[in-house]
């Protein structure tokens, strides 16, 4: 089971990223445990400067971008490579 965190305090882009992650995981039947982190103190522990951030298995894979479906899919299917 992949642990996926979306970092961002409820801005529109953050919600969009969360939706994309859900959609991609469902479509490709990837089992994930999804968290949406909205507390700034918690977000800043990941050392990002722009939201939304995406964390897969405790590694930041993206910050400040609205990822497209295939990009998210790449992060979810090959997390071990990183």
């Amino acid at each position: 089971m992949l642990n996926v965190k979306v970092l961002g305090s409820g801005c529109a882009n953050c919600k969009r990223l969360e939706q994309t992650v859900k959609r991609v995981a469902e479509a490709r039947q990837i089992p994930i445990e999804l968290e949406h982190v909205t507390d700034y103190a918690e977000i800043m522990k990941w050392k990002i400067l722009a939201t939304p951030g995406l964390v897969v298995n405790n590694k930041v894979v993206s910050a400040g971008r609205i990822l497209k479906d295939d990009e998210v899919a790449r992060f979810l299917t090959a997390p071990q490579e990183n």
């Binding site: 529109a12 400067l49 951030g53």
Partner: protein, 351 residues
């Protein structure tokens, strides 16, 4: 191996292919751009049979010419600046600003505000990350003022509707305002009005960095073109429609008395009205443009626009998470005063 006859070299070099594609797109763009004027004349005076001298003819021609022109300009120039921006990131900007003092740091932060990709929804993590790594408060503010104010859509629209001089004037004044306002905020020593939890965080160095290839840069730039156009096209069309109406129907110099350079109170009033208003630049610029055409002075109009674009209620609500009310008030006040002074300056120089 012999079956792949069609330019195997290009197929094997994604970077070369990407450059060829972008080059072709540039040619198409140029052709379209030169066709806009004849096309708009044909539509308004040929196809619709309007009289070029009539109010309606003038308004329609203005609209049919400006809408495709602005949309084309936006797509081309957003693409270019987005490619440039792939070389910058908030992380990189933070490294560049590290160890800079007040003064030089403020000017550099303002300049980096133009090229660093930034969304005001990320203002809080950026603020915390900057302040935590030791960048002075005033320098951080210079960045936070410049980034939304000197926004690419605003500058491109100003260029498209009034030419490069007004666009350059806008960029220059944005830089000056961000530098000076940030410098002053730094001088006021307001660190105690930053929310306490910000200072309790630690180890903000390092962070997320990625390496991109040219095709990826182009792809991201194209994505942001689509993203921004999707957001602003309707504002552009409505804004230009209102602008076209004013252009065609409001008499020349109708606004000279209330928004002209002689009405000294018009600059602060325009800024005050602009602070709570929030619109993306796409909606404001065409209207402001039409006002200038009817006797409103450039300084007053630009001051209004900066106040609308650079100081916005939603951004203040976001920043309230890290700033105490007093600091927010100083922030708004300092920037507003700086904008007013710049407005007067333009009215003085250009009037």
């Amino acid at each position: 191996m012999h079956t792949r006859a069609v330019s195997p070299k290009i197929d094997q070099h994604p970077a070369a292919r990407a450059f060829v594609l972008v080059g072709l797109a540039a040619v198409v763009w140029l052709v379209l751009y030169t066709l806009i004027e004849p096309f708009s004349r044909w539509v308004s005076f040929g196809l619709m049979g309007l009289d070029p001298a009539s109010h309606l003819g003038e308004a329609v021609a203005f609209f049919v010419y400006d809408v495709p022109k602005i949309l084309l300009l936006l797509s081309g120039m957003i693409f270019l600046i987005s490619v440039v921006r792939t070389f910058f990131s908030p992380e990189r900007t933070r490294v560049l600003l590290g160890g800079k003092r007040q003064g030089v740091g403020n000017a550099l932060a303002a300049a980096l505000g133009i090229v660093t990709p930034f969304c005001s929804c990320s203002a809080v993590p950026l603020f915390i990350g900057f302040v935590e790594s030791g960048i002075p408060l005033g320098v951080t503010f210079s960045f936070l003022i410049a980034a939304p104010t000197i926004n690419e859509v605003a500058v491109i629209l100003l260029y498209g509707l009034f030419g490069w001089k007004v666009a350059a004037l806008y960029v220059a004044s944005g830089l000056v305002i961000a530098t000076i306002a940030g410098y002053l905020i730094g001088k006021f020593k307001l660190e105690r009005y930053v929310e306490d939890f910000v200072w309790q965080m630690q180890g903000a160095d390092g962070g997320f960095v990625e390496k991109l290839s040219w095709p990826e840069r182009f792809e991201r730039a194209w994505d942001s073109v689509k993203e921004i156009l999707r957001k602003v096209w309707l504002y552009v069309v409505i804004g230009i429609a209102i602008g076209a109406g004013i252009h065609g129907f409001v008499p020349e110099a109708a606004l000279a008395d209330i928004m002209g350079a002689k009405a000294w109170w018009s600059v602060p009033l325009a800024v005050l009205i602009g602070i709570p208003l929030y619109s993306n630049a796409a909606g404001v610029v065409p209207i402001v443009g039409a006002l200038i055409g009817k006797g409103a002075s450039v300084g007053t109009a630009l001051a209004f626009m900066m106040s609308v674009v650079g100081l916005s209620l939603p951004e203040m609500v976001i920043l309230r998470r890290v700033l105490k009310p007093r600091l927010i008030a100083v922030f708004i006040g300092t920037v507003a005063v700086a904008i007013v002074i710049t407005g007067y300056l333009f009215n003085f120089i250009l009037g």
